[in-house]
């Protein structure tokens, strides 16, 4: 079936000194049957990478292999893939049935076989009653399902999804997310899913690739990415509100940030210029001001129902804490002490932004 190997994949537009590189050597091994989500801010190259796997963009350097076969020079239709597009790209003049059957018809699959496969896909996606309709007579969610149906009937080695949920409203998106998860559970087809939405990435991915500016920052399970971000970019990108990042210098049991010496319960992994990362939910607030605590000047509060966000400044750095809504909370203008247990501290090299220590 469909393992995907990306080996030092490079994409450049243009030639010579004017060439503009958008993908700088991505390496990844995606196993057969895995659901991998590529996530990153817009313009990070995630769609380009997906389109290179699909064969819609040429590969400037490196190699892409699908199911052990290097596909660099193969047409999209020869790569044994199926793609779900952001705007669904349904043929407007064809019925739902014809849309799903088109690829099979071109591949000269026998008529009876086409009918069986389309009917089966329609059943899974609950599209049965709509097979004779045209796409414009369907709702957004239904069109989205037709686009998925078109991918399913081809029985490919790999599914490629290019932000397929971004045109749906929030409720439908959550519902479709679950459907995709269920579908993957049934079909176990290798899937590569591109999104800019971290919730989608976290909920759908078995493993996720976080990309930034054409580089792969981290690949790992959602757990790993959330709890052990590999770089400050990943730390800030995944999680909402994002991880607090404080730049400073460590020496022994002290961390100097913004001219303020903050005592540490355990020494940092190494001395020097580092960035400390703390997730808002790992911040403990206390109202009695001790010498060992870090003073936070509260500037704003946000009540979100189940939880409350406390925004303040630690020295000169903005800092966010997330409290249970029922817990006692400070008022704007208060100075409170914040504490973080050492296992919830993430350290990053200030120069390379890479994670330091465990």
């Amino acid at each position: 079936m469909g393992a995907i190997s990306l080996r030092n994949v490079v994409k450049r537009y243009g030639f010579g000194p004017k060439a503009n590189a958008v993908i700088h050597g991505v390496n990844a091994e995606i196993e057969n049957g895995e659901f991998v989500v590529i996530v990153g801010p817009s313009g990070c190259g995630k769609s380009t990478l997906l389109r290179m796997v699909a064969g819609l963009e040429e590969i400037t350097g490196g190699e892409i292999a699908i199911a052990g076969r290097v596909v660099n020079d193969l047409e999209p239709s020869e790569r044994d893939i199926a793609m779900v597009f952001q705007n669904y790209a349904l043929y407007p003049h064809m019925t739902v049935f014809a849309n799903m059957a088109y690829g099979l018809k071109i591949a000269r699959v026998p008529e009876a076989e086409i009918r069986t496969r389309v009917d089966k896909a329609a059943k899974i996606l609950e599209l049965g009653p709509f097979l004779q309709r045209k796409p414009r007579e369907l709702s957004g969610g239904q069109r989205q399902r037709v686009a998925m149906g078109r991918a399913i009937v081809r029985q490919p080695a790999v599914f490629l999804f290019d932000e397929p949920l971004s045109n749906l409203d929030a409720k439908l998106r959550a519902q479709t997310r679950l459907e995709i998860q269920k579908l993957h559970g049934e079909l176990r087809t290798t899937s590569l899913f591109v999104t800019h939405d971290q919730v989608e990435a976290m909920t759908l991915a078995e493993r996720m690739i976080v990309m930034n500016a054409g580089r792969m920052e981290q690949i790992g399970t959602p757990d790993e990415v959330y709890h052990r971000p590999a770089t400050t970019f990943v730390a800030a990108f995944i999680g909402s509100p994002p991880m607090n990042l404080v730049r400073g210098v460590t020496e022994g049991n002290g961390f100097t940030a913004g001219g303020q010496l903050l005592p540490l319960a355990a020494p940092a992994p190494r001395a020097g210029d580092l960035v400390l990362g703390v997730r808002p939910e790992h911040v403990e607030l206390s109202f009695d001001l001790k010498a060992s605590g870090w003073p936070l000047r509260v500037q704003a509060l946000e009540m979100l129902g189940a939880e409350r966000l406390v925004y303040g400044t630690l020295g000169e750095t903005l800092f966010t804490a997330r409290l249970d809504a029922t817990a006692p909370h400070p008022k704007v203008g208060d100075i409170v002490n914040i504490g973080v247990t050492p296992e919830h501290m993430h350290w990053f090299d200030a120069a390379t932004t890479a994670r330091v220590g465990a």
């Binding site: 999209p76 893939i81 952001q86 790209a89 003049h93 088109y102 071109i106 078109r150």
Partner: protein, 284 residues
């Protein structure tokens, strides 16, 4: 839409419209009336303003060419046939060539693509009349005078239609092209299965325009046809009117004019819905 009650304005606009209708319709009515009288009745002053009883006789005479007057007396039925064939061939040929050239310009990368596009575009500004003598020379040297090929081929290439299809193709989403590629459709397959069906309304609109354009050709057929047998009806009318003082068979000329007007009118009436749709909306 805003609805206003202003009786005076209503009356005025109706009056303007009525005058407009009269200006357009009255000559057509006169032509019709003239085509139902004998030649003698028409040349009397004042000319009768009500239809006469010669309708069947005149139209039959015109269609079969059974009454030779001082001018050409070729049967109009044959002329109508020549006109119909020419108009259909021109319209279909124009659409086929324009679809293909627009397809090439929009979807393929080839050397000097921009140059080619601009060359086509520039010919938009050159009317047939400008290149009519060199074209005549070519057709004449190829021995195509008095033939359907000679009547139609030089009028087929169309910058306007190419440009229109180019604009339409550029609005077709790229994702559709990519979906077709993933589905394994080659370029011609994509053209046949996706682009042409999507262009259906534009094609219908262009067919109407180009059919009428082909039907109404005057100058070019006048040059390339010297044989009565190959006259389109528009030329036929002109040839029926002999110069000099001879008594013209105006009744037959008028009947021929009515017949010449009929097919374009029918095309517009029956294809109106498509025509408007093709010009107004783009279904994507």
């Amino acid at each position: 839409m805003m609805v206003e009650r202003r009786p005076l304005l209503d009356m005025l606009s109706h009056a303007v419209l009525l005058v407009g209708v009269l200006v357009v319709a009255f000559p057509v009515y006169l032509t019709f009336v003239a085509s139902t009288h004998t030649a003698q009745e028409i040349i009397q002053a004042p000319m009768p303003l009500l239809p006469g009883d010669q309708f069947l006789h005149n139209y039959e005479a015109a269609l079969t060419g059974s009454e030779r007057g001082p001018g050409s007396g070729a049967p109009v039925a044959r002329m109508m046939w020549v006109s119909l064939v020419s108009a259909v061939v021109i319209a279909v040929g124009k659409i086929a060539i324009s679809l293909l050239s627009a397809f090439a310009i929009v979807y393929f990368r080839f050397p000097f693509k921009q140059v080619v596009f601009w060359m086509i575009f520039v010919t938009l500004m050159l009317p047939v009349e400008v290149r009519i003598f060199p074209t005549y020379q070519v057709i004449s040297d190829l021995g195509m005078l008095n033939s359907y090929t000679g009547l139609t081929v030089p009028l087929m290439a169309s910058a306007t239609a190419t440009f229109l299809f180019r604009q339409f193709f550029m609005t077709v989403p790229d994702e559709l092209v990519e979906a077709a590629r993933v589905d394994g459709a080659g370029p011609m397959r994509f053209f046949k299965d996706v682009l042409v069906p999507l262009s259906a309304t534009s094609i219908a609109a262009l067919f109407v325009i180009q059919f009428i354009y082909g039907w109404n050709q005057y100058l070019w057929p006048l040059l390339v046809t010297t044989n009565e047998n190959m006259y389109p009806v528009v030329i036929g009318i002109k040839r029926m009117i002999a110069g000099g003082e001879a008594a013209q068979q105006w009744n037959l000329v008028m009947a021929t004019a009515m017949l010449a007007m009929l097919p374009p009118a029918l095309i517009v009436i029956f294809m109106q819905r498509w025509f408007v749709k093709g010009l107004v909306d783009t279904e994507k």
